[in-house]
Every structure is written in structure tokens, then in C-alpha cells.
Subunit: 205 residues, 2 copies
């Protein structure tokens, strides 16, 4: 916060713990976001400007950005068993296809990190934790889709690894508002910081 | 199912995939369950008879049982950073104390496995997956507390590891019914089987 300016949205706790932040953008890929994509998440289009603003902010400040994406082999051998049937009918996020790429509006730029995963959590059998520790990041801001699945599992794992975690509420989306809200409440209940996009600029060093 | 008996509660999918089941009982420890314990989970007492019935069933059939418990060093160094403050005021699940033990009604018997964890998921930096694979288990029935935290993270990790997972709805509990129901819905939406305790006997080999 600058010049002792008063801000009702920020607690001292939030201020005190965002010294080495990184941004995680989860699954903002064509197959889940592009209008008309068979696996498009309802409501996801509305968060694009918010995620874009977060990206611009972290870029401007030279802070680490991680684009976490789901990528599957075309054979589907690395798909969850509960999704094998849908994948066999409608393959999604297949390696090397346009569908697996981050949407053009949010595409990674040189210097940003891309983490590929085959499961929900960005930490599950990836090198994300190792990279974050190498960079010295201690605080994570999380954006993307969807609130109950890839976003939430990533948030819970991040907490398990002792990162301080802030969910950017208006930069994540779920199939319905009810699901989104119930999940935000659960995360708040375990000590995850819930913030709006507009609050983030003053939380960064 | 026996003798071609018709049962509305079971799908052929459920029947076809429970050949090597194991039971996970999560966090049914004195500090979270004992009446009057400072961290007692509201509503947890009501599930004790259900979890007890599941234990009796798995014991009778000689199927593997895992008691997953949270255990912390008295120093609190292994507690999540979001819980350090509460732990310093009210230490819970401390190694070697009665509070860390499974409640007497559900106490492990010889031949059953105890997995100690310091985080929510039973799989997080434990040998649970290794033991399950060694035993050849492919299907997990999950009971215990609480639905949004230790139960759900365990269920999601189990799915990530390709286990077939059944949440025993009336043998898990949360702080409120609304939280419980919202979490059950999220798990159902990703392909977790939601069953009642009374359905389990006929799902086992």
C-alpha cells in the first residue's frame, strides 16, 4: 500500500505476506474457453479481461507468471479413468493441437513458464513446486478455471506446500454461480485469502 | 450382487469395478470427534455407527482397512501455516497424546493399517499409494471427516492416482449440511461414486 493510504479491502495480514508473489493461470486453453468448444466452461469468457489484467500487472512488475495447462497424449492413456469415455468421443487438450494451447488473448510471452499437467492439480507430478522454490516465491495468486476442480485442487496443494495463497475470485469461474460460491466459501474457511482483481495491484511489492 | 437379485441402488458400472476394494477412514480421532473436544466437527457423532458398520463389514470379509490420521509434532513445525495460530493456542492431534488417537469405538485392530499425515490429503507425502498398490487395491471406499477438507482432498488425489472411488455419503460429515451437500455434488460431477452405507455390502466381492 502506498503513502499510508487507507483501504478497507486489505488486511495487514495480506499486506505482510506478499513479498515474493507469483501468478498461476490455470487451464485457459482453447478447448475449455473458445466459444463453441465442446468442453467450454460456462461463464469462462467473462473472466478473460480479469486474467488479462492480472497478466499485465505481473508483467509490468517483472514478477513470475506460470501458465498451467492440461495436455494429453492423443492415445488418451494419461487421461483420468473417469474421463476416458468422454475423451474417446471428444478428445480434448491433445498435445500439439490448437485446442491444447492457451487462448490467444492470454498467450505466454518469452520469460513466462508453462507447466503441463494431466491431472487437476498444477502440483500433481509436475515440477511446479520445485520451480517456485527455486524462484523463491512464497505467495501465489490463482486465476483460471474451474473453481471446484483444477483451481481448487491447486489451491489446496499450494496450501499443503506452505505457500500463502490468494484466490482471485473474479478471475476464476465454474459451471454455475452456486458451485463457484460454495467452493470460494470452503477455501475461505481453510485460510485461503479471497481477493478481487482490483485489490491485487496494491498487494504486490 | 447375489443370485441375480434386482437392486435399484447399484449400477452395473459399480458392480463391475469393486473387485479389489479397500476402506479409508479419515481423521476419526479424539481431538476432532470426542464430545467437547475444542476442534470437534459438528455432526460428526452421527456418522460413528455408519463408520463402525463399514469397519465390521470390511473386517468380516478380510478386506484392507486404512485408518488415516493427522499427527503433529508438539512443536507445531509441521502444521499448515494457516493453522499455526490456532495450533499454538489449542494444540491438536499431537503425537503421543490421547487426542491424536482414533476414537475407541473405531480403534484399529491388528492387521489394519495406520497412515499418519500432517496435511489434508491422505496421499500427501505418505506411503498410502505405495501400500495400496502393493496390496493390489483398485477401488476405495472413503469415510470420515470432514467432507470439504481431508475427505475431499483424499478423494481427488485418489482419482488422480486412478483409483475408482466411492464416497460413502452417510459416513462422512462436515460443519454444515450445506457444505456437505455442495461438496458431494462437486465430487459426483467429476465421476466419484456416491453411495450410502447400506449399499456397500453388495458392492464387495
Amino acid at each position: 500500500m502506498r503513502d499510508g493510504e487507507k483501504d478497507q479491502c486489505m488486511s495487514t495480514d495480506i499486506q505482510g505476506h506478499s513479498s515474493r508473489p507469483a501468478l498461476l493461470v490455470i487451464d485457459m486453453q482453447n478447448d475449455f474457453v473458445r466459444p463453441g468448444a465442446p468442453l467450454q466452461v460456462a461463464g469462462v469468457r467473462s473472466i478473460i479481461p480479469k486474467v488479462s489484467a492480472l497478466l499485465a500487472l505481473f508483467r509490468k512488475k517483472g514478477l513470475p507468471v506460470f501458465h498451467v495447462i492440461r495436455v494429453h497424449r492423443a492415445s488418451g492413456v494419461d487421461v483420468e479413468i473417469t474421463r476416458r469415455e468422454i475423451f474417446s468421443k471428444t478428445p480434448f487438450a491433445v498435445e500439439g493441437t490448437l485446442g491444447a494451447e492457451v487462448i490467444p488473448e492470454l498467450a505466454p510471452i518469452p520469460g513466462e513458464h508453462v507447466v503441463k499437467k494431466t491431472r487437476m492439480s498444477a502440483f500433481f507430478q509436475t515440477d511446479l513446486d520445485l520451480m517456485l522454490r527455486t524462484l523463491g516465491a512464497d505467495t501465489l495468486f490463482v486465476a483460471g478455471i474451474q473453481t471446484p476442480n483444477c483451481v481448487r485442487t491447486t489451491v489446496f496443494d499450494a496450501m499443503a506446500y506452505n505457500y500463502r495463497v490468494f484466490l482471485v475470485r473474479d478471475a476464476v469461474a465454474a459451471k454455475t454461480d452456486a458451485i463457484h460460491d460454495a467452493n470460494v466459501l470452503d477455501m475461505q474457511n481453510i485460510g485461503i485469502g479471497i481477493v478481487e482483481c482490483a485489490e491485487v495491484p496494491r498487494m504486490l511489492p
